[in-house]
């Protein structure tokens, strides 16, 4: 699927730089030893902004849940409708979710609970983005 291109901004630059090197990093509060996603300017637990870092994670997870998008508000994705839109729980912390189109998984035939691994896919402007693939496919 062709996702919109990405223009990294200063806040998100480390996330996208890591993706370009095919590494997945997630924001982490050193004070709380707690991951958070989506990333924010401050830790949602302790409120600190200066204890946040981008932490490498394993790139392993499971499919927590999914829906099938038939009417997408994003124009570039409309030609691929209907498509899977799953939520992945990270093995590093199952409270942390990431979206996935589950490349390779048939539409509406999604193995909820299955193990997945991160892959990196180019978007419309070439920026690599983390995606997820069912392990064993």
């Amino acid at each position: 699927m062709s996702k919109q291109g990405v223009v990294p901004d200063s806040f998100s630059q480390p996330f996208w730089d890591a993706a370009s090197e095919q590494r997945l990093v997630i924001q982490n509060c050193r004070a709380c030893d707690r991951l958070q996603h989506p990333p924010a300017e401050a830790c949602s637990q302790c409120g600190a902004g200066d204890s946040l870092e981008w932490k490498p994670v394993s790139g392993r997870g499971t499919i927590y849940n999914y829906g099938v998008v038939h009417d997408c508000p994003v124009r570039l994705l409309q030609e691929d409708q209907p498509f899977n839109l799953a939520v992945i729980m990270l093995d590093d912390d199952p409270g942390i979710q990431m979206y996935s189109h589950l490349p390779g998984t048939p539409v509406d035939d999604v193995p909820v609970g299955a193990a997945v691994e991160v892959i990196f896919e180019p978007t419309a402007n070439g920026q690599l983005v983390p995606e997820w693939r069912v392990i064993g496919d």
Binding site: K3, Q4, G5, V6, V7, P8, D9, F11, S12, Q13, F15, W16, Q36, H37, P38, P39, S44, Y64, N65, Y66, G67, V68, V69, H70, D71, C72, P73, V74, R75, L76, L77, P82, L85, V87, G95, I96, Q97, M98, Y99, S100, H101, D108, V112, T123, A124, N125, V129
Partner: protein
Amino acid sequence: MTTPTAPDAMYRNDEGLGIWEHRGKVAAVGVGHAPTARRWDGRAETCVGALSIQALRRAVDDAGVAPDQIDGLVVVPSTTTGSFWEEGKPLPLDVIRSFRQTQDPLDGIAKLSAEWLLQNMPELTNVRFTMYGPGCMSNALNVAAQAVGDGLTHTCLVVKSWHNFEGRYYQGGDNAGETLPGTAAITRLWGGPASYGTALQFAEYCRKYGKSHEMMAPFMENSRRNGLLFPEGYWAQHRPEELGPEDYLASRWIAKPANLFDNDIPIMMSGAYLFTTAERAKDMRQKPVYILNHASSNTRPRSLVPTLDEVEADTARSARKIYEGAGITADDLSFENMYDGFSLFHQFHLEGLGYRGIRFGEALDFYQTDISIEGPNPVSPSGGNVGGGRSRVWMHTDCIQQLQGRAGARQVTGVRPEVAVSGGPMPLAGNFTVWSASPD
């Protein structure tokens, strides 16, 4: 006059606050609605500001109050249904010039300020208190109730309005572009529609409890039926069509398992209420409806989409706050008007409340029983957004009208209308009001 946004302290967010200090001392005495429309037709008389003026004037008339008695105004400043005035699109100067303007030329067209309303409602000569309750009518009601209770205003109007322009909603702006800024891209590259999160929660709910989307059909049919008995609503005014199981289940998917009808239809509308003290309400035209409590939740999910566990924990927590401050239990509810836009989360609110004793996972079975306005267990007698279009207002209007005994053809007959609850929007976070026919 500059209008402040309501401080957090005005909302009752915490458990353990005890009975609301103004329980039964604030009353709703007037209701006003402007006619609905699917989209703005570009005329001055139908812009969102004009609709708001109309709704406010009707609320004042309904209460039988002289405009110069009104000393407060609480406004929801955002009016968008997800549609925005496209950047670079010429301004509708003829419309703009039909009104007294504020600094923003789109005030009254794509947003609503208290200043715009006061400038264009010259009869409101004594408004000394203005405040924004951002979000939904549910927020604004909490703010107005607290403000009247605290004595910041004695006779206070509350208004929420919606504009809807041409074009498919949420499809403009960044969504139409070739790129996204990096921070937004981290969550938005995947293109989930607005109902996607609710669809996910519903999917998890069905898996966990062995339920199905088909089981929603009686709720949808009941809600549309009630909505068609709501003369102020969109479907009653423009498309008096019932929504039987075949039509509901045959409709196209938006984000499966959410279909077209599970997504409320965006409309132009305005709704307004007049609140005052219980003391002053006694000699007004309408029977007062007393506010026993207001409660809020500002819970945020841990990550992208609230999980079913997070939803259930928060609806239960909200219910405890609702009941605690009102000094009631679930047994005291004559009916419920919790939010339904999206339809697939109404059951979360019901289960959190423990309405009629239902527990987590039981609401869809409950939908297969008599949930009509004639029965002993009315569900969403307003018809909600499913029955009236996207306003997040019908639920409140219906509570007031039912408890006043003037809900017309929609009047509940299987229960005595004494105490009701309304509010939302989402099951995680929300603002709720407990209404009562009696102040005690």
